[in-house]
Symmetry: C2
Subunit: 432 residues, 2 copies
Amino acid sequence: MEPVKVALLGCGVVGAEVARLLTTQADDFAARVGAPLELVGIAVRRLGRDRGAGIDTSLFTTDAEELVTRADVVIEVIGGIEPARSLILRAFEHGASVVTANKALLAADGPTLYEAAAKNSVDLYYEASVAGAIPLLRPLRESLVGDRVTRVLGIVNGTTNYVLDQMHTTGMGFAEAVEQAQALGYAEADPTADVEGFDAAAKAAILASLAFHTRVSLDDVHREGITEVSAADVRAAELQGCVVKLLAICERGTDAEGNEAVSVRVHPAMLPREHQLGGVRGAFNAVYVEAEAAGELMFYGPGAGGRPTASAVMGDVVAVARHKVVGGRGPGESAYAQLAVQPMSETVTRYHVRLDVADKPGVLAQVAGVFAAHGVSIEAVQQRHDDSGRAVLVVVTHSATDAALSTTVDELERLDIVDSVAGVLRVEGGDA
Amino acid sequence: MEPVKVALLGCGVVGAEVARLLTTQADDFAARVGAPLELVGIAVRRLGRDRGAGIDTSLFTTDAEELVTRADVVIEVIGGIEPARSLILRAFEHGASVVTANKALLAADGPTLYEAAAKNSVDLYYEASVAGAIPLLRPLRESLVGDRVTRVLGIVNGTTNYVLDQMHTTGMGFAEAVEQAQALGYAEADPTADVEGFDAAAKAAILASLAFHTRVSLDDVHREGITEVSAADVRAAELQGCVVKLLAICERGTDAEGNEAVSVRVHPAMLPREHQLGGVRGAFNAVYVEAEAAGELMFYGPGAGGRPTASAVMGDVVAVARHKVVGGRGPGESAYAQLAVQPMSETVTRYHVRLDVADKPGVLAQVAGVFAAHGVSIEAVQQRHDDSGRAVLVVVTHSATDAALSTTVDELERLDIVDSVAGVLRVEGGDA
């Protein structure tokens, strides 16, 4: 049987694991593909670096451009926009299928890649780009293709989930929790991409594109990170039986004119503890999907790490290599629905607002009046005294547009009787 | 574009929902398949029965044998062994691909179908046969194909999960919980297939076949139902921080000679409440998968019902119809590993044993001696008095072969100082 030639671009944590799997599981892969997988080269930036045991160093090359021209399947685990994009496009031109874990590139410029793959009649698979090893994109792209997805709620960034989980467990503040995550290797030295929600936003764009058969790019995603989440927010959530999670949210809705549209956003939110996502601890990922016929589904697993990510990569490699052997191609980009992406202001959401207020009669009436003036209906109000004896008013709203809610908060801040708006968190995962 | 001709066999709860989806979502399907899906006929046993709104009654026929010869894709939702098997084989012979939800047939005689599909170069897809709408078989068959699955623990029968959940929540006994499940439509008038574990065993056979690339049939599955689970067992589990679940378990292990083998079994077991499967409530299904590289994954969702099952069926229909349009085929049966299925006696498991014993010194020493004599190591022992003041000894073992454990229990029953072995439950989901 003619072997399927595989080129590996990048030999970091994921790439090294992929290279090892290709060796140790060679017989399994041959049986599953219908032909042996032959690793023909590994492109690295610098030769001579130690990549750990089990990797044939004679395969290393610094000439990635040449390498992709002699492969049937190219695995791209370099990350970032360039040179990854040029190398993938070059691979397509030479008839190779590509497996990538590159969420940033897909979210920034996916359509260029999808179109090039289609034009050259090859596969582009990217299971590892979202939620690591969790088989999630294939279910969305293939299993649920006979259904209508209405909502995706995802915990897709392990670092922020670890940080928020620590804040809940220990009561510590954001900065301290990040330091601890860094010490344990759950957060990078520069945690910006994670804590500011950039990583989650790229994944949200990919998920929304698949769920709604609509092109959604990173620029379409409303993004708020967790840097403003305070220990007091976490305590307030707990008083409501909730946890604070950084969620990637993709929702089908209607725009102001009543046309079908989608909302794609990343922000911290209060979620009921008993929600399927409420119990996702530490650095794990989980994605909750609602579909019209299927109902509520959840996918749970490790969201990162060399071996889990390599597992997802190799699942894709087997699929596209099999196509090389037996013919056929996987589903390409599906963007036929072309739904509009709503601006955040039109998105319907719910708020949990904590106000430090004057401790005197009439305060509640005045506050409630501001909500009413903006057409925001209140679900629940609690008045209490906080740890330092000041009066605290907690308002949980029903659903309203984000514009109405944020204007309401602006106006509350200007009220004399309101000392400060101590915390605003969106509320997700309940019935509106 | 030439339409893809679809024949539907069966128009019960699932079939009617499939027929409706084919009409209401026709445009979506056409976009996703690349050609329209044309429903050319619906085979039913009797004409003239009301199947609900939205179904074109002119499509009904009682001649299923003729219908399958004029379709590109046949959807089989009749269930049972015959005539389903003959019709599927006939469909293959006429070049049609088949989508089925028929777990009983697949578990009883899957290889006949897989071979016939391969021989005729057509697809056999069956996502709906296990865990309803949860996209689970495709991840196992495709996404995790680059990994080595080591264990699958599944709650794959909604009826028994509902019954056990009720026993936990209310303290009621098995019989009462079943009656309530029947009243609410969660259990059939004759609940045998569910409560005796037959349904779960068929699903375990399918899961194990996919997870281990090995032919596993219903006859290979060790099966125990939940009819013997008592309110006292449920209370005992809670005292250990556990819940009782009916689990379908597929595990990679080694046989007595040290060769790789698999264990496939269905039985009630105590599971830590904080295990991912411990929080699965009501009639929901969930399947927990451990793989060498991917780590721990979980898939959760509705396990039954017309609409969820129809969603899974239509996901498969889109895939196989797409192959008719663009070429290619999905992965066929993969049984290259040919691992032996262990007898239950050789399977390594853990026991939780409750004994009513004489209330006098030396009892524990004597009981511990019996465990030791059979090479069964004890993890924990508790002595207490039960509700009626009798002495109760609870022993939780480390892992041992089921043969050693069951011989130990037999011998304990013969001890003078043991009044009775009040309950034996296997323990799963922890570290051995």
